[in-house]
């Protein structure tokens, strides 16, 4: 079929306004938030309902057109960078919250619903949707599920996968597959919903999501603790958990990040501190008081030189503003900012932090480190200028070494950013040839022509 004929077929499905073919339109869907080269798609299609989405998938498959689904394009591993000459299928036209069931505490949504809007809608009904990726004001729930997005609350509340009860998705032939259930328990058949989480659009195209909701938090207490070394701070993280306390959030910032944040927005941060922990405990008010006191004591035992406990909403917000400012503040220093995703078992955080220091020195690169210390998910952030080709070469080598060290410490390639294109070449080093072969076999059965987001995850 000619290109014009295919375009006409897409227009027949979604209408001509929802098929973009111009060079300029296509170029604006050639990238995502990863620091990777752009790839031009042949066209961009925007279905606005389930039927259109299914027909779009089928038409791509019938014509052997590589298909990349895109929500808000905020992911950091290149998962939504299209295949050359392929089709980008936008989900932002499928943005309805179909049901919020207060009694059974679940919601049914279309994949293009923006995460923060959903969380706010749920909160207005007295319920709580905990996953809070940094991009939540724009990222979509479909993208969150496809990438298994994390966030600051991962330690206590888990990540997106812990809230996926079911996924309806289109297979590559245009059949609607229903997986999971609206019930809390469901062990019927293969866990296809589980398979779809983190599949990055390589196995099917999400049509609807059934998401678990939980009761709201009754009380919370935030605090900021200052440490003389990153080692002391990271040992405190392990000590808090070892004391059977699981804070909602347990974040770490190194000295470079603290100083950069303070320069960015004067907030009275301890710029001479080697490290800072930002901690929030939540739950029943009595439990919160008890845990906050214990955390304070543990921090003191681990050489914290200063502990500030937020007494009201304004002080609490000030604590978290410092954390929210970390990435913008670092990003303001240099033109290119590579936010990595080094994740290790909690006990290995001191070792990973030492490794990052070593890598920074070895490659003569500025690296600010902050992240979710409580779940072992660090965000070493390399500040560079991609136009400086010599430095960029060192950045690429440093990134590879960060992965190597994380894996050597029993960690993983990605805690929450996904594999996408950026890390697909490293996946064998975490899994095994057999695991990769098994994954490829599964992919080839479910997507024989290889049209669903080709080359992502498994290369």
């Amino acid at each position: 079929m000619t290109k014009d004929a295919i375009i006409k077929d897409f227009e027949a499905i979604v209408g001509s306004d929802n098929v973009m073919t111009s060079e300029t339109d296509r170029h604006t869907y050639s990238y995502d938030a990863a620091v990777l080269d752009s790839v031009m798609p042949a066209l961009v299609v925007r279905p606005t309902n389930s039927e259109e989405l299914g027909k779009t998938v089928k038409l791509c498959n019938d014509n052997g057109l590589p298909l990349t689904v895109r929500g808000a394009g905020t992911n950091l591993s290149g998962g939504t960078i299209p295949h050359p000459g392929g089709v980008v299928v936008l989900t932002n036209g499928l943005n309805r919250i179909l049901e919020i069931n207060e009694q059974d505490m679940y919601a049914v949504v279309e994949p293009g619903v923006v995460t923060a809007k959903f969380a706010a809608e749920v909160a207005s009904k007295g319920l709580f949707y905990p996953p809070d990726p940094g991009s939540q004001t724009v990222s979509t729930l479909g993208g969150n599920v496809a990438e298994n997005a994390g966030g600051l609350r991962g330690l206590k509340y888990g990540v997106t996968k812990d809230y996926v009860m079911g996924v309806d998705f289109w297979d590559v032939d245009g059949n609607l597959i229903k997986s999971g259930s609206r019930t809390v328990k469901c062990v019927t058949g293969y866990n296809l919903a589980g398979l779809m989480v983190a599949s990055e659009g390589t196995l099917g195209v999400f049509d609807k999501l059934i998401l678990k909701l939980v009761p709201p938090v009754l009380a919370a207490k935030s605090m900021m603790a200052v440490f003389p070394s990153m080692k002391a701070a990271s040992e405190t993280v392990a000590a808090i958990i070892a004391n059977k306390i699981v804070p909602a959030t347990l974040e770490i910032m190194d000295n470079f990040t603290i100083r950069t944040v303070e320069n960015f927005r004067k907030a009275g941060l301890p710029t001479d501190a080697a490290a800072m922990l930002l901690i929030e405990v939540d739950g029943h008010p009595a439990q919160v008081e008890d845990e906050a006191a214990k955390v304070e004591e543990i921090c003191k035992q681990n050489s914290a030189s200063e502990i500030k406990i937020a007494n009201d909403a304004a002080e609490r917000d000030a604590v978290w503003q410092a954390r929210r400012d970390a990435l913008p503040a670092l990003a303001n220093l240099k033109p290119t900012c590579v936010l990595e995703d080094a994740t290790v078992p909690r006990s290995q955080i001191p070792a990973m932090i030492a490794a990052l220091d070593e890598i920074s020195n070895k490659y003569n690169l500025t690296i600010g480190t902050f992240g979710h210390a409580g779940d072992g998910n660090l965000h070493p952030t390399i500040l560079t200028d991609k136009r400086d080709t010599k430095e960029w070469q060192r950045v690429e080598e440093a990134i590879e070494m960060i992965f190597d060290r994380a894996l050597a410490l029993g960690g993983t390639l990605s805690g929450e950013h996904g594999i996408g294109l950026a890390k697909s070449k490293f996946i064998e080093s975490e899994t095994s040839p057999g695991t990769l072969a098994y994954s490829r076999r599964m992919k080839s059965v479910l997507d024989p022509k290889g049209i669903l987001n080709p080359h992502k995850i498994i290369g």
């Binding site: 973009m20 111009s22 060079e23 300029t24 339109d25 170029h27 604006t28 869907y29 050639s30 990238y31 995502d32 938030a33 752009s38 925007r46 808000a72 394009g73 905020t74 936008l90 932002n92 036209g93 923006v114 923060a116 991009s135 004001t137 724009v138 990435l327 913008p328 990003a331 303001n332 033109p335 290119t336 900012c337 200028d385 991609k386 136009r387």
Partner: protein, 428 residues
Amino acid sequence: MADIHQLATMLKELDDQLVGCMRCGMCQAVCPLFAQTGKESDVTRGKLALLDGLASEMLKDPEGVNEKLNRCLLCGTCQANCPSGVKILDIFIKARAIMTGYFGLSPVKKAIFRGMLVNPKLFNHLLSFGSKFQGLFTKKADDMLGSSCARFQAPVIGDRHFKGLASKPLHKIVPELDTPAGKSGKKVAIFVGCVIDKIYPNVGEATLKVLEHHGVGVFMPAGQACCGIPTISSGDTSSFDKLVEENLALFEKGEFDYLITSCATCTSTIKELWPSMYQGSSANRMKLRDLAARTMDISEFLVDVLGVEPAKVGGNKTVTYHDPCHLKNSLGVTAQPRTIIKASSGCEYKEMAEAGTCCGSGGSFNIAHYDLSKKIGDRKAENIVNSGASVVATSCPACMMQITDMLSQKKAGVNVKHVMELYAEGLR
């Protein structure tokens, strides 16, 4: 027209600024245009990628890029919320100047900017002529709002409900002023602005009444020209430079502490664009920097300099406030206009939802993309109506025009006022 390689070379001047975009996409959360269309080319990340693509010669369609670049309200919300601190408005305005240099200015804009706008006397004369005959082509739409609509089908006007030209512009009512400082000990220069002069002279009169009430001396020279925002946002740098020079020459003649405007757009243009975009002599650039440092919005002057505080009496009319983009996003002025409303006799203040979201006017965006402008404005109108207020106040006459259109078409029964009108009404 230069070749595309030359255009790319010119755009490379922006490279250091473009590279600051992390492509995080957070601009999607705040862009009023993206909220309507959901298209990446309508949001800043997409536009920056297009400019980058053209500069690196990955793209071969400068017309396409230019069209997308011009689909922007220049509201600055993205810049105010950009995690990387990218100077987006600066990039867009410079890029429009480069594009206009490449494509040339459209004949219509050339006639308006270079034929009329840079010649204030001719401009005033033509609009004065227009005000006499506008009634032949328009009819009243809403008495309370003072809006009109087209009597016959008219392509430019469409179904707009607009405020017509005033029968007597401010420069005819008060040709010029130079009064000494009174009890406040302060003297200000007033930059009137075209829309206040020709459409809302009552806002200008209210501003003068307020200043007189507070014993502020006023220098208001005759012959003021447009601040230049229509020219520079269309990339016409030569007309912009002429307008800046004409205004600078007028205001140089006076002695004053501050330059005050009652138009958010004029304030931000004088403060930010006059010093940064003027290409003339370095001596003038120094003078513009000094002038910009002394320029402020009227509410900001009243609250921050004179110390006006809210009155303690209750009110019989509920007033809500719309933040003009040029005050909120560009200058960070949000509290002072609200303080003035609360200090206005008989006004009970009520905050509306999304008060800081653009009303959809966007200057020439409203003319080129009225359908989109209207969709954005409709949302603003809904928020105004839902606030339950009987009056919506703002600090920008361009926003007043847009909101009047939206409320008039809805027959919402909500009046539109400038903050200075409300405040002046209560002064004896």
